[in-house]
């Protein structure tokens, strides 16, 4: 099979694609936005996701899930991207589930069932500044009795204001910038001392700034090892990064298809604009970039699923490339649509906005290209 999809994967795609196209196309995003929705996604749709088994894709079979991998999660995310569907899938069913796999039985037993049933939303609280720098974690967790007391601020916590639990990276030793000395915590959002402030972002989704002011948690709230949380955090982030990359393959692909469709129907100078070689070459180049992004994302998903030690390098390259390709797709999309591409009524602009947000999510192209260089020894 190699990098071909298996029959089961093709079947999954054939289930997800029509489901989202019918139940959550771009106008679903518009309706939430125009109704000034304060949740950030549709809860009934999230319930349906759970009923169809999607939320359990990465949950181990022994714990009630489907026990599948990142290729399968990516199939769902690509369709989410293509339809610009607002969904907690990436944070809750992908990043949080991967993090919880390094948690103890207590946390797994509490959260996996709620994720499977669509009753839990989990926010990922890692970033503290405008750019993604996980090692710079400064939010402090001090030992207090049998547990810890957390204080500090987080931002860009997507759906954090309505989350049931936040996965928080905190510093238990060392200094900001050190990978060592970070610990991951599962913090209930309704714990005393947690406040959230939701902001609508450029792509209409809601993300929270979170303040933790002396929030007390027990030792059971620790995910992975105390001071050695970097491994669990990397697992969470790599799942989130490859997931975001897969979603960008969908966003870029959707923008590209819409644009190619436009080139085949818009007439100027008495001919279809898709007949102009200047546009044909740009279209073909864009197609090549998107195909490259699709390939490296798939490769990284396979390596992650195989537990291959090169996975981290390939995930970084995949997030970097999907950022470049998707960005080209939305820029060419707006430009080739001309004036109509600048209107709110037309969907291409929504793709551009979604690309912008996903680009920043879990590290942008510059951040990940730099990591590729470091992992390659320079």
């Amino acid at each position: 099979m190699g990098m071909n999809h298996t029959d089961d994967q093709v079947m999954l795609k054939d289930t997800v694609a029509p489901f989202l196209a019918e139940n959550a196309p771009v106008k679903h995003l518009r309706s939430l936005r125009d109704a000034n929705d304060q949740t950030g996604f549709a809860r009934d749709l999230w319930k349906q996701f759970a009923e169809m088994g999607f939320t359990g894709i990465l949950v181990p079979e022994a714990e009630g899930g489907l026990g599948l991998g990142h290729v399968e999660a990516g199939i769902v995310l690509e369709e989410i991207g293509r339809n610009l569907t607002p969904s907690p899938f990436l944070t809750t069913a992908v990043a949080a589930v991967e993090a919880l796999k390094s948690a103890g039985a207590h946390l797994r037993g509490e959260w996996f069932p709620k994720i499977l049933s669509g009753d839990a939303i989990i926010g990922i609280a890692v970033d503290e500044g405008a750019k993604h720098r996980p090692a710079a974690t400064a939010l402090v967790a001090e030992r207090a009795g049998n547990g810890f007391k957390l204080s500090g601020k987080k931002q860009f916590v997507v759906h954090g204001h309505v989350a049931d639990m936040l996965i928080v990276s905190a510093r238990t030793a060392g200094a900001p910038g050190d990978e060592q000395g970070i610990t991951l915590f599962a913090v209930p959002r309704d714990a005393a001392g947690v406040t959230t402030e939701a902001d609508r972002l450029v792509d209409s989704q809601l993300a929270a700034r979170v303040t933790l002011d002396g929030v007390e948690v027990t030792a059971d709230a620790v995910i992975g090892d105390v001071d050695g949380g970097w491994a669990s955090l990397t697992r969470l982030l790599d799942a989130g990064r490859i997931g975001a990359a897969a979603e960008m393959v969908g966003v870029g692909g959707g923008a590209m298809d819409m644009t190619f469709g436009y080139l085949k129907q818009r007439k100027q100078f008495g001919q279809l604009i898709g007949e102009f070689q200047a546009l044909q070459h740009r279209a073909a180049h864009l197609y090549g970039e998107m195909e490259g992004a699709r390939s490296i994302v798939l490769k990284a998903q396979h390596l992650l699923d195989d537990g291959d030690p090169r996975a981290e390098l390939f995930v970084a390259a995949a997030k970097a490339k999907s950022g470049l390709a998707c960005n080209l797709a939305v820029r060419e999309g707006v430009q080739m649509h001309g004036g109509i591409g600048m209107t709110d009524e037309y969907d291409i602009g929504l793709y551009m906005k979604r690309d912008r947000a996903l680009a920043e999510f879990f590290g942008d192209t510059n951040f990940h290209a730099d990591r590729v260089a470091r992992m390659n020894g320079y």
Binding site: G274, I296, A317, A320
Partner: protein, 386 residues
Amino acid sequence: MTDLETFRKETRAWLEANCPAEMREPVKSEEDGCWGGRNWVFKSPAQKQWLEVMAAKGWTVPDWPKEYGGGGLTAEETKVLRTEMAKLGCRVPLQSFGIWMLGPALLKFGTEEQKKHYLPQIARGEIRWCQGYSEPGSGSDLVSLQTYGEDKGDHWVVNGQKIWTSYADKADWIFCLVRTNKEDKYRGISFLLFDMTSPGVTTKPIKLISGASPFCETFFDNVKVPKHQIVGELNRGWDVAKYLLGHEREMISGGGLGEGMASIGAAFKDMAEQEPVLRAQMALFDVETMVFRAHSERFMDEWKTGKAHPAYSNLMKYIGTELNKKRHELVMSAGGSDALEWESERGRKGARPRTWLRTKANSIEGGTSEVMLNVVAKRILEMPGA
């Protein structure tokens, strides 16, 4: 253990036992590899030995059928063999237009007699082939070619001129596009094979900007070609040519798959660390290198299972050649004034600048980048217009 894992283990053991140490060093240039042919002088005993043991196993052409000198391996086994060779750094035992281009065309269009005659010679590296496609007036617009074969009953008499014939001066035989009907542009071309020592064939090397002369002008002056040396039907050579160009594009796009796939920043670590902007360019280039490798792997997997679009190799050719040119721009930047030296021993007689210049042909030969983009736009994206 699955059969494939057993095959992997056995293959690895065989390669370790049979590939001479010298043949595990990367080739320094295109000419440094083994090209075979009647007049081939082996560069070392190791080169000869490596070709012979691989040819005996049929592994110069692992996926060709055994009866034609191949290894009879499945697509999966071939991939395993290539992966294991790459891991050990084993050189390709035989570089050959016969293997890359003519062979696949013969397998698809050749008669049983032609396959039995030509393919084993190709597999063993006994006959070196060159390709007669482009003409002075027919480059990107190849189908306008005018070299003419006049029907003389049991043979054709061929007159005309080809250009950019790779290694024509070193090749034993040529596969050549010849017009056999002047009335029909596309259905008036035949695909002929003939011996380069035939009376009336002359070649003249063309000196390139790199200083090397890998290409020739080739002249045909009343060259007799027997009728049984046609591949495919009369006047349907364009079908053969198109099929073969697909393979050529695959080859050129995959040209960087060997040494060209290593991290460029790691190769020029000091330079990268002293110049942040160069380092950034190299980091982004490393990303693109990994992307292309994954893309090629996915393309090959889809190609073998018939899922790839028939014109997809045009896209890979475009991406692969542009990437290779970019790589050598960065190599020249990292090399600074050292990389300008054209003749010194210190600079390996200008290997770097000569290679850099050579790569500029990547996006011209076998179809220019612009033609590739035309094909992708029209055939894959189905853009409107002629």
